[in-house]
Symmetry: C4
Subunit: 261 residues, 4 copies
Amino acid sequence: MEDVVIRTLEKVQLRDPILIEGLPGVGNVGKLAADYLRDQLKAKPLATIYSKFFPPQVYVGEDGIIRLVSNDLHYWKAPSPTARDILVLGGDYQGISPEGQYEITQRVLDYCHALGVREVFTLAGFAQGRVVEEPRVLGAATNAAQVEAMKKFGVVFSRNDPGGGLIGASGLFLGLGRLFEMEGVCLMGETSGYFVDPRSAEAVLKVLAKVLRIEIDFTALETKAHEVDRIAQKIHEAEGRTSDATAPSGPTPREDLGYIG
Amino acid sequence: MEDVVIRTLEKVQLRDPILIEGLPGVGNVGKLAADYLRDQLKAKPLATIYSKFFPPQVYVGEDGIIRLVSNDLHYWKAPSPTARDILVLGGDYQGISPEGQYEITQRVLDYCHALGVREVFTLAGFAQGRVVEEPRVLGAATNAAQVEAMKKFGVVFSRNDPGGGLIGASGLFLGLGRLFEMEGVCLMGETSGYFVDPRSAEAVLKVLAKVLRIEIDFTALETKAHEVDRIAQKIHEAEGRTSDATAPSGPTPREDLGYIG
Amino acid sequence: MEDVVIRTLEKVQLRDPILIEGLPGVGNVGKLAADYLRDQLKAKPLATIYSKFFPPQVYVGEDGIIRLVSNDLHYWKAPSPTARDILVLGGDYQGISPEGQYEITQRVLDYCHALGVREVFTLAGFAQGRVVEEPRVLGAATNAAQVEAMKKFGVVFSRNDPGGGLIGASGLFLGLGRLFEMEGVCLMGETSGYFVDPRSAEAVLKVLAKVLRIEIDFTALETKAHEVDRIAQKIHEAEGRTSDATAPSGPTPREDLGYIG
Amino acid sequence: MEDVVIRTLEKVQLRDPILIEGLPGVGNVGKLAADYLRDQLKAKPLATIYSKFFPPQVYVGEDGIIRLVSNDLHYWKAPSPTARDILVLGGDYQGISPEGQYEITQRVLDYCHALGVREVFTLAGFAQGRVVEEPRVLGAATNAAQVEAMKKFGVVFSRNDPGGGLIGASGLFLGLGRLFEMEGVCLMGETSGYFVDPRSAEAVLKVLAKVLRIEIDFTALETKAHEVDRIAQKIHEAEGRTSDATAPSGPTPREDLGYIG
C-alpha cells in the first residue's frame, strides 16, 4: 500500500488558509487545543489520513462500530470575505517511527500546500517537570519577523528553552514546511509533563485566538481543567495519607501526580 | 523481492464469497476457529501468501520436509446454488512489524476483492485476564446494520469492551477493508489470555455457523478443549502442592495456569 | 541505494552448478564448513554482495586496508567434464533484520538462478545445549526423494529436531529457493551452541563431500578443532580451580565453556 | 518523501576536490575536527542534507528560529591555482538506523562524485577506555599506497587496532566510496571515549593539515581543550572528596570523568 493514504471527503476552495497542527504529545496540550478549536469553530471534515506508520489498530465506538486510527483535516471558512480560512490537523497518533514521522508530515504538507497553505501553526506542550500554576506560552518560529510578531501576543522566546530542540510533529511541520516554502510558528504551553493539561491548552489557544482574530468560548475547556484538578487533588490527598502512615515526612509534592491519561 | 508474494494454486470462480480471517493471537482463538472451520468444510487450497514481514523461518515436518512460513487462503464452494461461497484465511504468523501488518492486510484484501469478496468476518480472542467458564462472544462491526444483525445471534456489543480498540489483523482487516468498500464483523471469544482456548474458539464458531447457515460437528474441538482442561488441572494440582509445601495459603487461582501453547 | 548490490568479479559459464551456503550462525558451523570447502577447493571469487541490511561496518586488515562487510560467492569448476560445478556462498554477516534476510536471500537466489543453479545445500549448526562428543548431522530437505537420498549418507531425520523449525539463512535459502524452482537440503551439525565448533563443521563437510563426490583433506580443520579443545580444557581447569577455592563442589561441567568466538 | 534530500545552495566548479567527513561519534573527535577545519578555512555553504533517517527533530536557535536537523557540505577554494579544493561534511547526526547510514552515505557520495570528488578523508575518535595524554592518530585506508603515504605523516597503522573494524559513517564513507571508485583514509584520534575530546581532534587535524598542505591556527581548539580539562579536573576533585568521605580509598582514577557532552 502507499505509505500514507489521504482520502478527500469534500472538495473545497480555501482562501489563503492557515494550517493549525495539534497531535498527541506532552500533556496532550497540542491535541486538546486543536480538537477544542475544531469543535468551537464547528470545522467540517475535509480529509482522513491513514498510514502504515500508525499502529495497526482500530477503535470501537460505543455503538460497536470500528474506525481505523487516523489523522484528520477539518476546515473552517472565515465568515468575513477579507479573513483567512483555517485548516485543523488532529488525530489519534503521531507516526510511530522516525521515518514514519517524516513520511506522514511530508505528505500532509504536500496536500496542504496544494490547498494553498503557506503558513503553519503547531501546538504543543513543553514539559517543565514541575507543576506550572500559570503556564506561559513559549515560541519558536521559522523567521525573525514571526518571532517579533509573536512577542507582541505575549509569546515567550527563551534562550534556553527548549534546549534540546523540538522532537516530533510540532517541530517537523515547521522544519519540513520550510522545504515547501511555508513559514510557521510553534506555540508551546508550559506543563508539568505528568498529566493531560487542559489549562496549558487554554493558554496556547488564547494566544492563537488573538493571532487569528477569532473568538473562542473557553467554558468547556475550563470545566475540563477543573475536573483534572479535582482528580489530581484526590490523588494528592490519597498519597498524603499514605505517606503520613508510613513516614511523617509532610505532604507529597503536587508534581508527583502521575500521568492521568 | 515484493513485500508480499501471493501464489495462486488454483483459479476459481466464487459466488459472492465471504472472507473468514483467523490468525495467531490472544489465546489462539481466531486461528483455532479458522483452522477448524477450514478442516470441517474440507476447504481447498487457493493461494499461499509469503512475505518479508513474516519471520525468516521454515518449519520442518515429521517427514523432514521444509515449508516456508506463510498465510494461506482456502475456499469452500457452497453446495446450494443460492448460498454464498467461503474463503478462509489462516497461517503461521501475523506480520511482525506494524508496517508489515498493514502491507500484508492490504495485499490480501486487494487479492480477495478481485475474487469478489465484499464481506469479512474476523475471528479473535478477547483477553479478560481471568478464567472464563462460559465465554461470551463480543462483537465489533463496520456499520450499524451489522451490529443489529449480530445481536440477534447472541453477540454482545459492550460499551467498554474492547476499551483500547483492536490491535492486529482482526481489527485491520475491517479497518482497511472499508477502504476497499468491504463491510465486516469481528467476533471475539472471551478467554483468559493465559492459554490456548479451544472452548472460546468453539463459542465463536457456533455464532459464525449460525450466521453462515452451515453445520459444523464440534466433537474434535471439544476433545481438544477437554485435553487443555486436563493439562490445566494437572498444573493447578502441582502448583497447589508446591504452594502448600511452602506456605499454607490455599489453592493457587486457576488463572495462573501459564501459557500452554 | 539498491537494497542489495551484487558486483560480478568474473563472468563464468557453470555446468549445472550446486550452491553451497554457509554463513555465520550457531557454533559458526555453517561458516566454518563453507569457508573450509572454499579454501580446499581453491574456489575463485565470482561476486561480492553488499547490502544496507548488513551492519554499516568495514573491517581493517593487518595491512591497514579496509574492506566493507559483505557476502561472497566463489566458484569451482569440476575437473571431470561429467561432474557438476560448485558455488560457495560465505560472508561476514547474515542480514540484520527479518526483511533484510528475505531481501538478501531473494537477490542471491535470483543471481544464482541466472547462473543455472537448481539445487542448494545449506550448512548450519544445531544447538543441543550440551557438549556433543560425536556430532551427528541432522537434515531437512525440500522433497521426499532428497530425504531418502540423504539418509543413505548417514544424515539423521528426526521427528522432533529441529522442533521450532529453522530460523535464518539456512532455512530461508531452501524456503525461498522453492519459489525459484530450486530443490535443496539443509545439513545441520550437532553442536553445544556455546562455542565455535570445527568438529561439527567437519562432520557436516564429510557428509557433503560424499554427496558431492569430492575429496577433502581435513587436516587443517582437525588442527583447529584440537586448538578449540585445548582452549576449552584450559578454561575448564581454571574454572575447576576457582570453584575448588570457593566451594568444593567438584568439576565445572564442560558445557559451561562460554562462547569462544 | 525521498529518503535523502540534498538541497544545493550554490552551484560551484571545484578543482579535484577532496572530501573531509567529520560527524558526531566517539569523543565527538570527528565532528570537532571537521567543524574547526570548516571555520578556520571560512568554508562556504554548498548543500544541506535532510533525511528521514535523521531524528524527527528541529533545533531552536537563541533567536527563537528553528532549523531542521541536517548534514551540511561546505566548500573551500584553494587560493593557489595548482592546489586542490576541499569539501567538508559535518552535521547534527549520523543516520539513526543501519539502513539509514547506508542510504545517506551512498547519496552523499553520489553527490560528491558528481562534483569531482575521488578522494575522501574521514575523521573519527578511537576509544581506548583510558585517559590518553598524548593521543596518537591511528589510520586505515583503501589501498597500500595511501597506508605508506600516511605513515610518513606519523599516522600509526596498528595490527590490532581497530580490532572489530570501524562502525558508522567514517568507515562507510571509505567502504562504499570504493564502489564509486574513490580512494580514502580514515584518521582516528585516540581518546578515552568518556568525554568530548578537542585535544584528540587537534591531533587529527594536525596530521590532516600536513597532508593537505594547509595552515591552521589551533588557538581556539586549544582553549576548548583547556576548558574541558578544567571541567574534568573539577569533577575529579569533587569525586575525590566524595570518595574520601565515604571510604579513604585514594583518588578516583581520572578515567571516570563521565561524558561531558
